[in-house]
Symmetry: C2
Subunit: 273 residues, 2 copies
Amino acid sequence: MTAELRTWRLVLEYDGAAYTGWQRQPKGHSIQSVVEDRLSRVLGGEAPRVIASGRTDAGVHALGQVCSFRAARVRHPQQLRDGLNATLPADIAVVEAAEVNAAFHAQRSAIGKLYRYVILPGPCRSALRRGRYWPVRWPLDHDKMREALGSLVGRHDFTSFRASGCSAATSVRTIHRAALLQVEDELHVELYGEGFLRHMVRNIVGSLVDVGRGKQRPGWFEELLQIKDRVQAGRTAPGEGLFLVRVDYPAALLVPGAPDLDVSAAEDPDADE
Amino acid sequence: MTAELRTWRLVLEYDGAAYTGWQRQPKGHSIQSVVEDRLSRVLGGEAPRVIASGRTDAGVHALGQVCSFRAARVRHPQQLRDGLNATLPADIAVVEAAEVNAAFHAQRSAIGKLYRYVILPGPCRSALRRGRYWPVRWPLDHDKMREALGSLVGRHDFTSFRASGCSAATSVRTIHRAALLQVEDELHVELYGEGFLRHMVRNIVGSLVDVGRGKQRPGWFEELLQIKDRVQAGRTAPGEGLFLVRVDYPAALLVPGAPDLDVSAAEDPDADE
């Protein structure tokens, strides 16, 4: 007699510094492999595959990565959360655990993602925030950066900002919000959109710094969207400044139940940052 | 021919996790020993003693620890700052370097210190803030905690809150401000005062949590000040939640020059947290 499989959603916070990224790799230490390993311990041997909203690259952090799995042996969400927190390493934490609709899929069901990129401008470095920002020594013109960011909002072909190895079927994405925020001594680039191509946020930030330091005009972003050529854009900003802040889902999927819902999947399940 | 000794002030940020505390010890890895070692490299062999505003204990962090030293070979404050930042480990950073009045003494000249103690209430832990908060699972009554904190403001004998090994000549201190702040999901206890006894902030926070969880009444703080007995107060809160935020000095001492100033020293140079 086997118990019924139920679907679970986890919200994870992690420090990406020690990992090769989310996705399990033949070599190296991935967040997925650690989470799957510890989950199977907590579930007494049951070893579900854990699906994240998207891969995060080496060094990239998460405040609210969402992942899902199906298992029979979970009894109570708080036991799951506390059990995992007791066995996971200190640089990965479960913020939330909940049973969700059987149709919930952390990657395919995602409808919005918020990324934050942290720049520390100026000549100083920070000891307590080490590995969590991009130090940028050039003076940056915020107005010009905001002008450039403005041209990203809406539905565009982001070919110029995708990684060369990105395997997504289409490079068209919708960005709902693109903001530059001064937060104490940090400069935050926040992008909220339906989904992102591989390296898309980091390529946008790298190019944005070129605009901020005066190497390019703000109108260059408009041109890059037209040109559709990755080699024209700026460098890829380092992974350690990037945080996956939040992933949004249709409210109906966050409630346990049978998959009797008409829920539109994200447009490209292969997309990620 | 020897060059004239000039007096320098450094503002340091550090993550205390890997250190035995500020003060050089016969065994273990202290922040002072690392800073003195790297400073002597930057100064080409000249090896000044570096004096901090006060010792910080093992695990305690600093956003703005201030230290001073006298040296002949420093040329320019920015060179000093950048040279030290290039050679110091990633968990210690120089935020500021400046020449100051010859009478400046990081410990004796300090007139105010701001400490912040970070509590993370609730059942969750944080991966990105690991080692930088005290996790407190009991529900805490903020109003009662504020009432207790209120009785600390002013000039009092803090014998009940000093460490047993504290060597300060007097246990009378003045606290100018004692606040409890909710900052997103964190609870901050901020104490600003002339100076603090060894473990004083951590003993206050440990007792404050006893009040917040209902183990003691708010009036207990008033009693503890009267009783003058360390064993009556609560536990010492863990060092990893404590941050030395800022140290203040008389403005006249922050300007280079000869020590022709009538500057009152801090009341007790032996005091520290």
